[in-house]
């Protein structure tokens, strides 16, 4: 039982990292990033491949964050100056292309078979529950660090500028600031968080393949931050909690009702995520606890 709870907590902590990144991008700056899973995927593959080569985690995790940022940069440069929904389309396309690349470049990623046997973090020091607890502790520390950074950002001049961009881009332009430059920085910061999340994911699950990085993952995170409340750190936490309840709950539902096949359950999950997106945008755009107009 403890092992199960710790396992869920680890996955939840990874999702929180993703949600914090997206919250920074959409919640604080108004960037419609529909390709979050693409950066997650870049991070996961970078960490897995470098671990195979024997890089120490500290270096490979930094590389995962750096590569995810590097992937975000040209994309932001091209499309963040344009209409905001253009960026939504471009980012969605980006995540699909990342998935195509890791599917096709078999020499590097072994294609649809994926990469197996990625070593666990601290695998040499401990095994079993103590090992999972150590991973969880590191993840919580990274999350706390990210949250502290986020709080710093919100109260800094940078934070005030990006929130102003979200609320009224024209006004920011009129004040002589270049919104695109700020947006690119925010996009890269969020991508770095997603990259680190991907690195943790790869090491924890131990196996990555292209079909773990479908757009549905992106929209699960969207569902989480919208349910929790856009633009609030507590919202990202609460939303991720609901998301985990839903994901784990649907697994239990399968155990109780074995006549539902796994493929059907996948459809049901897709439908629930879709319905949540529609209903929350329609009736509760500020989420369960957030308020877009107040901080």
């Amino acid at each position: 039982m403890e092992a199960y709870l710790v396992a869920i907590a680890i996955v939840a902590a990874i999702y929180v990292l993703l949600a914090l990144g997206l919250n920074l991008q959409y919640g604080l700056t108004g960037i419609i990033n529909f390709g979050h899973v693409g950066f997650f995927c870049v991070g996961a593959y970078t960490a897995a491949l470098l671990a195979e080569k024997g890089w120490p985690p500290l270096l490979s995790f930094s590389a995962a964050a750096a590569l995810a940022m590097l992937a975000a940069w040209p994309m932001g440069l091209i499309s963040l100056k344009l209409r905001e929904d253009y960026f939504a389309i471009v980012s969605l396309g980006f995540s699909e292309v990342v998935r195509l690349v890791v599917t096709s470049e078999k020499w590097l990623t072994s294609g649809v078979q994926g990469i197996t046997g990625i070593p666990k973090l601290f695998g040499g020091l401990a095994t079993g529950l103590p090992n999972s607890l150590a991973v969880l502790a590191v993840l919580v520390a990274v999350n706390l660090l990210a949250i502290a950074a986020m709080r710093r950002i919100v109260t800094s001049p940078f934070g005030r500028t990006i929130e102003a961009i979200r609320d009224n881009e024209e006004a920011v332009k009129a004040l002589g600031k270049d919104p695109a430059a700020f947006k690119i920085q925010v996009l890269m910061l969020g991508a770095a968080l997603a990259g680190v999340a991907g690195a943790f994911y790869a090491h924890y699950i131990g196996y990555i393949s292209p079909d773990q990085f479908i757009p549905l993952v992106t929209f699960q995170i969207w569902m989480a931050i919208i349910m929790g409340g856009v633009g609030r750190i507590s919202g990202a936490l609460a939303g991720t909690f609901i998301l985990m309840l839903f994901l784990e709950g649907s697994r239990f539902l399968r155990d109780i009702m074995p006549f539902i096949s796994e493929v059907e359950m996948a459809s049901v999950r897709l439908g629930v995520v879709g319905l949540a997106l529609v209903l929350f945008t329609l009736y509760r755009p500020t989420g369960l606890m957030g308020d877009f107009t107040r901080k």
Partner: protein, 288 residues
């Protein structure tokens, strides 16, 4: 040389279908002002409905009409249930909701029709050979159906009162309202039309390849790329860009491989945004 001509011909056929999907997106964009991500799944739905109709009635024609009707009706239902309520909010809300709608439609299709690939039951035909160039009779029929749809849509847009009003709303919503055009009727006509066009596109893709719940979503990226390439909100542009994209995709396949076909439309999209964000026929104001 001959393989390239064959590929180019093939590209025109798939380009016409991409053009239809892009037309559906651009129609909604022009009037409702958001990129509708549910277009792809309405396409798949049209194809599945056509399959069901064809196996129930025994003829592809009745099946096709049924598929188009279902797609148009579901598109209208999406408007009344979701997008109408979001019309006064920023476009982000509609865009996000359209993703949700897309997922719901795909989930329903996955449960009802299953995930196995399905094909339209068509008589096998021998490809024609003209000057050593092979061309499939089915491809000709698909192209003709796509062209007929395009002609019909442009006739509706340019030769009927409702089409004229639709273009007026796309041009300047407040001016149109002041001129006494009822937005409600325009919206009903618009969503029916864009749903029907998406349905036809889906059926044609289904006839050319196979029918799966994911087929429409997979075509969404090329369709968006074509809509932006043509100048968002510009119907002729969407079709022209769709055909160009189709030809580029097919002709490049021998060089980049089959799996990178979709990545190619992404590259085209980035190139367009970099060089000419307003697209072939669009206005600067549309892109910024």
């Amino acid at each position: 040389m001959i393989p390239f001509i064959e590929l180019a011909l093939n590209g025109i056929v798939s380009g016409l279908v991409i053009g239809l999907a892009a037309l559906s997106i651009t129609l909604v964009f022009g009037v409702a002002r958001f990129p509708n991500a549910a277009t792809g799944d309405v396409m798949s739905l049209g194809a599945f409905a056509a399959l069901a109709g064809a196996s129930a009635s025994g003829t592809l024609l009745i099946g096709g009409v049924f598929g188009i009707a279902v797609a148009a009706f579901v598109s209208l239902a999406c408007y009344f249930l979701v997008f109408q309520k979001l019309s006064s909010r920023p476009p982000v809300a509609s865009l996000l909701a359209s993703i949700g709608v897309a997922f719901v439609i795909r989930a329903v299709m996955g449960v009802v029709f299953g995930h196995q690939q399905k094909v339209f039951d068509l008589p096998l035909a021998r490809p024609w050979r003209v000057l050593d160039i092979r061309f499939h009779p089915t491809d000709l029929k698909i192209s003709l159906a796509a062209l007929a749809t395009l002609v019909a849509v442009f006739l509706i847009l340019h030769a009927t009162p409702i089409g004229r009003r639709m273009r007026a709303v796309a041009d300047d919503p407040s001016l149109a309202r002041v001129s006494g055009i009822s937005p409600r009727r325009i919206m009903v006509a618009l969503w029916l039309l864009s749903g029907a066009v998406a349905g036809i596109a889906g059926i044609l893709v289904g006839i050319k390849t196979v029918v799966t719940p994911e087929m429409g979503w997979d075509l969404l990226l090329p369709a968006f790329a074509a809509a932006i390439f043509g100048g968002i909100g510009h119907p002729v542009g969407a079709v022209v860009a769709g055909v160009i994209l189709g030809i580029v995709q097919e002709v490049a396949t021998p060089f980049v491989g089959f799996t990178y076909k979709i990545a190619l439309s992404f590259a085209v999209l980035l190139a367009v945004l970099l060089i000419r964000p307003k697209g072939l026929f669009g206005t600067v104001a549309g892109a910024r």
